[in-house]
Amino acid sequence: MPAELSRATVLEALKTVAGPDGRGNLVDLGLVSEVVLANRKVYFSISVPAERAAKLEPLRLAAEAAVKKIGGVDSVSAVLTAERSQGAPAAKPVAGGAAARPAARNAQIVVPGVKYIVAVASGKGGVGKSTTAVNLALGFQAIGRKVGLLDADIYGPSVPRLLGLSGKPQILQGRTIKPMTGYGLAVMSMGFLVDEGTPVIWRGPMVISALTQMLKDVAWGNLDVLVVDMPPGTGDVQITMAQQVPLAGAVIVSTPQDLALIDARKGLAMFQQVSVPVLGFVENMSYFICPSCGTRSDIFSHGGARHDAERLGVPFLGEIPLHMEIREKSDLGTPIVAAAPDSPHSAIYRDVATRCWAALEGGTTGAKAAPRIVIE
């Protein structure tokens, strides 16, 4: 009779599925790269050679079917992961000198070793974008990815406080900066370079130059995802990111309040104008459950971001409640996904990360490669 849901039973079930060539099984061949359980939902990915990914859909379905037989499973989501040798646009080195060079033949900022760069943005400030960015980054890490976090909010860097990091990053040889490490994330922020109480009073060109350095001159190492905490709005930093950085996707954070949603739609329109795929909307401060009486209050209204996402045709990634624990842990520098990984809130962030990862790896973001530019 159906076994109980656990990582072990999922792997047992996957052992009944033959490998891509009909030999062995997925687990013993080492093709199952991660198993994530969240709220009776199961996610896992199967590594396959990139060129065969299209033909292996039946394998993916068979693996899903095998796991569905386990008791207590609401849904199963298997993703085929192309083997790393394929490389992503972001990870390609710049070819210099050749006549027919790829589109990254100019001032484009190349961040070597980073597979996907994902921007976390909001139209308006104060919607919890940085808290979401930090916990999303930790969510990616929780599902087995190697993750960096770049705080691109030059004027109001929040990431050092949110991760409880202080001190100055080390300068390696030349002009390369070694990123700080917080909860396993490689982290860079303007906040490491100026004191928390000191304002950065700069015009646009200085901001762009600082941002460029934090991307190019930081030894990020090999990362699956670099999460970028964007400043609010649609200004200098956003333009630079859109024009010079190979963004794999953007996540838009909003509260359900109309006032915030108006600006979130502007953020969406901006990314669409510059052909950056939008991975989806996250609704933050979605609802409030009173800790003493259990009554639910929709302080900023509820469901606005989900409704907007549906109306605008972008995925809805999840709703995060307004909860004292998230706020307290954030201010203490112990983000909830790291400090309380088993809490229901952490599961939501992991869920959002899993959906983003599936879209990035599954090629469903609608991203198209820039055209080849050939100069004879």
Partner: protein, 122 residues
């Protein structure tokens, strides 16, 4: 996922050795050779288009303009550097497709504008 995915998308942008035209192939199978002169006088730059149709500038004496460089702008446009120094136009994919598809209309409008303002192609 986003609307951009459904839009027309170029696969290759080629600047031939003569530097006098761009050949652009799109993913719908179409391909256009657009002369540098037309690209220059139709530059989407605010220096040419102004900030409203009334501010549009008709550019004369560009018959012999050439293209010095073509640079990618993010994933959505190219910047064309002309040999007369003009480089502030970012050409989006849809704009390039429209220039190619309706080339004769754009030419006619350009020639009419020149005539109306007493300018010449040079």
């Amino acid at each position: 996922m986003s609307d951009s995915g459904k839009d027309i998308w170029p696969t290759e942008i080629k600047l031939a050795a003569g530097k006098r035209a761009l050949t652009i192939a799109f993913d719908d199978g179409t391909s256009f050779e657009i002369p540098a002169e037309l690209l220059r006088v139709m530059s989407p730059s605010a220096e040419v288009q102004g900030h409203s149709p009334e501010q549009r500038v008709t550019v004369g004496n560009k018959r012999n303009v050439g293209i010095r460089d073509v640079r990618a702008i993010g994933n959505y446009a190219v910047q064309i550097v002309f040999d007369d120094g003009h480089d502030t136009g970012f050409y989006r994919w849809a704009y390039l497709h429209d220039l190619g598809r309706h080339e004769s209309d754009h030419w006619q409008r350009y020639l009419d504008d020149l005539a109306a303002k007493g300018l010449v192609r040079g």
